[in-house]
């Protein structure tokens, strides 16, 4: 499959051995997500790397296993993502996606560790691997991270992963009424042309409200917004980079 970023084909080997950072890493991630040839190459290269790891194999001391075993005793396991190929039988699935007018699913009073882990994965998608390369931007990243952590700390925080309606893109949404915040990570939407950007909207029963612009970083879009109101879905449209008061087209919808 050809993609818009053909030069990125050449990054797959380096990507497989974690030899990329910064913009190149994000470019490779975005490309591999969109290119079947490169996914196949990546699988080959990773399998080759497995052999290289076995070539360096060394048995750790028994005390390491003791530490691992006692560490996991306190670690709650993440349930499978709904719709995954082989959800581990018996593990609790994520709450099913329901219609716009669904009633709210009652949430546990304490925040679920699996949610933190899952959301941390989403955050890692955005921050992953780039932190070391961006020393100068650490403060920025930290403040972003702090906001995310505050959201995750909310007792009613919940995570949903779903397709962006009408596209091949996927969205991870973490939302909490209590902290009145939503975090969105979208993967797989085409890059916006110069001067344009993706805008986030709150979709409510009686209309849509602007919820800010999504930031683009290496093929992924991220955003955080407050003031959820009665929104049950978020919408995404392409607008001028400065944002619009009303969507210029029917928003692509994502549940939250």
């Amino acid at each position: 499959m050809r993609s818009a970023d053909d030069d990125a084909h050449g990054l797959t080997a380096a990507y497989a051995v974690d030899a990329l950072d910064g913009a190149e890493l994000r470019r490779a991630e975005a490309h591999v997500a969109a290119c079947a040839d490169c996914r196949r190459d990546l699988a080959d290269f990773r399998a080759t790397a497995v052999r290289l790891a076995y070539g360096a194999a060394r048995r750790p001391g028994d005390h390491v296993w003791e530490r691992v075993r006692s560490a996991v005793a306190d670690v709650r396991q993440v349930p499978p993502i709904a719709g995954a190929a082989e959800p581990g039988a018996g593990a609790a699935p994520l709450p099913p996606s329901t219609g716009r007018r669904r009633t709210r699913i009652r949430r546990p009073r304490v925040r679920a560790p699996w949610l933190v882990a899952a959301a941390a994965l989403a955050v890692a998608l955005v921050l992953g691997g780039t932190v070391a390369a961006m020393g100068a931007r650490m403060a920025e990243l930290r403040s972003h991270t702090a906001e995310v952590e505050a959201l995750l700390a909310a007792s009613d925080a919940r995570l949903r992963e779903s397709r962006v309606e009408g596209t091949g893109a996927s969205a991870t949404v973490v939302a909490s009424e209590r902290s009145d915040a939503v975090m969105v990570v979208v993967k797989g939407l085409p890059e916006a042309p110069p001067g344009m950007g993706y805008q986030l909207w709150y979709v409510e029963d009686d209309g849509v409200r602007p919820a800010g612009m999504l930031a683009e970083s290496g093929g992924m879009l991220t955003g955080m917004a407050h003031g959820l109101g009665s929104a049950r879905e978020i919408g995404i449209t392409m607008e001028a980079a400065s944002g619009a008061d009303a969507p210029s087209s029917d928003p692509m919808r994502v549940g939250m």
Binding site: A14, T48, L52, G55, A56, W65, I81, E86
Partner: protein, 213 residues
Amino acid sequence: MERVERTGSAGPAGRAEGVVGAEGAAAPDRDGDDLAGPLRRTALGDLDAFAAVYRELSAPVYGLALRVLRDRAQAEEVVQEVFTEVWRLAARHDPRRGGVRPWVLTVAHRRAVDRVRSEQAAAARLAEAGRRTPESSPADAVPDEVEHRMERERVRRCLRRLTEPQRQAVRLTYYTGYTQREAADLLGVPLTTVKGRLRDGLIRLRDCLGVTT
């Protein structure tokens, strides 16, 4: 620009290179998934199954981390982090996307590389690298362990079949944790040169080791 050419719709490419014969026919099946079952049971909280996954993968995880970090305590921490993640995310592993080994060892390599990159400023690392040749570093010494001797020798044999620049590119990135840009700086060659060497080296290794996915 430089994607891995495929000779036909079915066969992954570079395979027609013919320079090296596949040696991996008798190799243990590293990807087809004897670990899928234990991982599924791990996802259900089965500690014995988790112990089986650990038994199989702790040595490559630890050995790899040790190779990259050159520090026993840090490598042990990586083992702990990696297996805690395996325990926590076992249910999220999607067999359609690949085997348990590539997943776990990808996580392990990232963890080790993240540590090495965050702890030392790039400049300091480059300066240090100038003082020691990656080829002769202590962690490269053959560990006195018989368990993985066959595989170790097979990998060494295949590494020997690379050209010296290819071997260097593979070692500096995978075993030492450099980015390809850092490797290019260190070797004093253009980035595209290192890119090509790394890719060609991995393709040749793949074929020599008989890797199939």
